[in-house]
Symmetry: C2
Subunit: 510 residues, 2 copies
């Protein structure tokens, strides 16, 4: 019915509202009247068969968007893939039909697998606004049946790329996160590769933490691998350490997380669906899952850990994944460094068997690598741990890591630790009694990690160590003065370290 | 701790993201690094003691925001109240503390009155993002205790202006909405005023409907009254018909509604809190509440109507309001016109006692005015209805309306009905059996109402009327060709009127 004269010319607007699509319409628009589109705010932009949902914003500035134009913000412009000046039409977007299922869920009903499939598909294709995603997440957080959880995990795995491997045994190792410096994957993968199992590891970048495995690996090598790159590297070297965001595994999860994080929604069910959907999409068959338990970790009690383990085991079995859940000590950071460069230094110290390499990072990596190797039917039961240590001590794991780095593409010149430094020192004699993982992560992040590879924290004392008044507990590294000031201010207020039963406060040495 | 050099100059950006505050930072910013602010996205802008929360958007266009500037979108610029070039600082906003209560609510806990007060205050001051509002609303939609509802109603009333009147009896009449053309307030208010009770009526503008009482009254008079204007008009004429949005009653409700509407969250509890908080803030003491019941109305069964009535009565009693709930026929639109000009014509036809004035609008207005007059202790019980008719028939109500219009400020030149017209005609002989309020409202809205005062629908047949094939059922009025096409297309697909048991489709005469 629409007249043929209702076309707008698209214009690129250099405004980044990622991950949301935003378009701009002039209040003096000659083709449409912006008031018509205010109530719902989401509009559908179409050019032939190409369609895109976007949030409409009205502008009074003709240099941003002229009356005969549709301004298109950076993410929408990228997704639309049209040249400036191309003709498009706009219409009020009909809300996604799957929202009806969300409304029924809010009303207390259970969702069918078809409902969930439709919701997850709409979420992955950016048809839901943040408030609609929040509605779905909160309704699900109040109760989720195991059938709903299974359907969610499957739908999320199917929402993006699904990698197929020509091998019966594809192993993986995953940690639920929350412990700074816990970079065991970068040691486990080369050990497993050296043994001969296939471990195509994908990892995330940090969202709220000071570094993700992908950020730390990037200090040493290129991590933005395509699926073909991954297959080539794994074909050559048995393992890779790639950034998962680049290969579009479970994209629905990437969208959901943009709402889960700010709302701090962190249910067992969402964690299970998020982790297992990505493993399923990555083509894994056997997984070792590391659940750190500690007072400032994500899982804070043994009871919670067991409940999470049972749910992981149940869903894994239903979707055909073999899982081995390992509880580890989540009381403090692992290793010494927190932040990409400092963590990469620790990893290489372990792989090169340096005498001062962090013992806890080494021990934990061997434990997890051993459990992964135990999946190998050729090994005697329980022999994985010893085999892992052989491969590490002999330098075979290091050689595997060097080959993986070469195959992925070695980083041109390694980044260095940030040159602005300050030390937090003990204010009394005593034993280090506790470390707040969450606070230490925040200080490292304020210092600039992971944006600045060299920023972060270098720990000199760990729980159980003796400290004398004036002994440095850790050093902050920053690359920029403003970050440095923010990090110091937070560490000054509370360092996150307890000595002799008291939080160390107000003690910075520059 | 922050250095004294971290100031940005503010620059007005003519982008309207109302009701949300948006600010723009250059990716090449020389003072802050935008990456630092991405994770949370909400930032706090401060200039001395002035503080404002806003969503941060990154731009690559120096003409929008230069590297030493902070671009400030229209709503934030208005709220900040500073001149361009003024110096501001920015910092990651700490999420509102009251979100902890929302998280506890999601976890199944009951909120205290203090929790609710803190949440509503933060919502009213724009500290919540849409996703955070959605989280609060959905968590509340799954269960709300009566104590929570009471605390919510009180907190919402206290979130903005509270009007005080020097009179023991301040009456009001309110309809829960959903029925096109239901403009009884514009007849009830002058009747009540002519009798001598005080009725300071505030009404909303349409959000998703084709007209609100404020939109229709605006055809005749200025409705953007300040509190002082309202007091002056009511002092002179006993009643006013003002736009509530202008006097900031229950502003938290105005924010919540921006999320409730798109999510179609419509619980009894939210309706009760929304309506009664506004009445409490407006200083009303006695209210007649009109609940239309019908298959396409907001309340669709007698059971639902009774549950809503009881909840309204309970909360009213607790907060000290006298309420009289009236169930009315919500099966079809009231009167003939749908849209501001056409509705105003119907209202004036009733007030001037024209023989062809819509009988249903007249009867319903007399019913409701009678119930309001029954609040007058000076009248014999049940005498209100007769008294209302006397005042209408004698022309005293019309005279009161003319004085109210003069006191508010008569509209300069009355708008006319839109000149683009098309008629929907019956496609067979038969009786009009049903009318879809929701669909008729949507067609009228597409035709341009309420933005174009003259746009809308003029109904010629109502339920029970006989129609012969070719008889016009209603006429669409538009002011712009594109709206006209959209409205006709929708009416063509399904007119929203049933004749002889079948929906009338595909029959338009121009």
């Amino acid at each position: 019915m629409a007249a043929q004269t209702d076309y707008l010319k698209i214009k690129y607007v250099a405004i980044d509202t990622d991950p949301e699509n935003t378009v701009f319409l002039s209040r003096q628009c000659t083709v449409y009247r912006p008031e018509e589109f205010r109530a719902l705010k989401k509009i559908e932009v179409s050019a032939g068969t190409k369609k895109l949902l976007a949030t409409l914003v009205v502008t009074d500035d003709h240099t941003i968007t002229a009356p005969d134009e549709l301004g298109v913000g950076a993410p929408a412009f990228r997704r639309l893939g049209l040249a400036e000046g191309a003709s498009v039409q706009i219409a009020q977007a009909t809300p996604p039909r799957s929202l009806d299922a969300v409304r029924r869920k809010i009303g207390g009903e259970v969702m069918s697998a078809e409902d969930i499939k439709a919701i997850i598909t709409d979420v992955a294709t950016h048809r839901y606004s943040p408030m609609e995603i929040a509605a779905y997440l909160i309704a699900s957080a109040s109760f989720t049946t195991t059938d709903e959880l299974l359907a969610t995990t499957r739908a999320m795995a199917e929402s993006g790329t699904e990698i197929k491997w020509n091998a019966p045994l594809i192993v993986d190792k995953h940690c639920i996160g929350g412990i700074p410096g816990n970079r065991t994957s970068m040691i486990v993968a080369p050990i497993v590769a050296a043994h001969g199992l296939k471990m195509p590891k994908t990892s995330s970048r940090a969202i709220t933490s000071p570094s993700g495995t992908a950020d730390t690996m990037e200090v040493l090598a290129n991590v933005a691998l395509s699926i073909d790159d991954m297959k080539r590297v794994v074909g050559l070297e048995n393992a890779c350490l790639a950034w998962g965001g680049h290969v579009n595994l479970s994209p629905a999860d990437d969208v959901l997380i943009t709402v889960e994080r700010p709302l701090a929604i962190d249910t067992r069910e969402q964690m299970v669906a998020s982790i297992l959907s990505k493993k399923l999409a990555a083509g894994s068959t056997h997984i070792v899952l590391d659940i750190p338990v500690g007072p400032t970790a994500k899982v804070r009690s043994q009871g919670d850990a067991v409940r999470l383990r049972k749910l992981m085991e149940y869903v894994s079995a239903e979707i055909g994944l073999v899982i081995d859940v390992v509880f580890t000590d989540g009381a403090q950071p692992v290793g010494r460094g927190v932040g990409p460069v400092l963590e990469a230094r620790d990893v290489m110290a372990v792989l090169t068997n340096q005498p001062d390499a962090p013992a806890d990072l080494r021990a934990r990596s061997l434990l997890l690598a051993g459990r992964v190797l135990d999946f190998d039917p050729a090994l005697r039961g329980g022999a994985g741990r010893v085999r892992a240590q052989e491969l590490l001590d002999s330098g075979e794991a290091l050689a595997a890591m060097e080959r993986i780095i070469e195959a992925q593409g070695r980083a041109a010149s390694p980044a260095c630790a940030g040159e602005l430094t300050a030390e937090i020192v003990a204010t009394c004699d005593g034993v280090v009694g506790a470390m707040d993982c969450f606070r230490i992560a925040r200080i490292a992040r304020l210092a600039g990690a992971p944006t600045d590879k060299g920023a972060g924290i270098d720990l000199f004392k760990k729980i159980g160590d003796h400290a004398r008044k004036g002994d440095p507990l850790y050093r902050i590294h920053s690359c920029f003065a403003s970050d440095f000031e923010f990090a110091k201010a937070m560490a000054h207020e509370d360092s996150g370290v307890m000595v002799d039963g008291t939080a160390v406060r107000g003690s910075i040495k520059e």
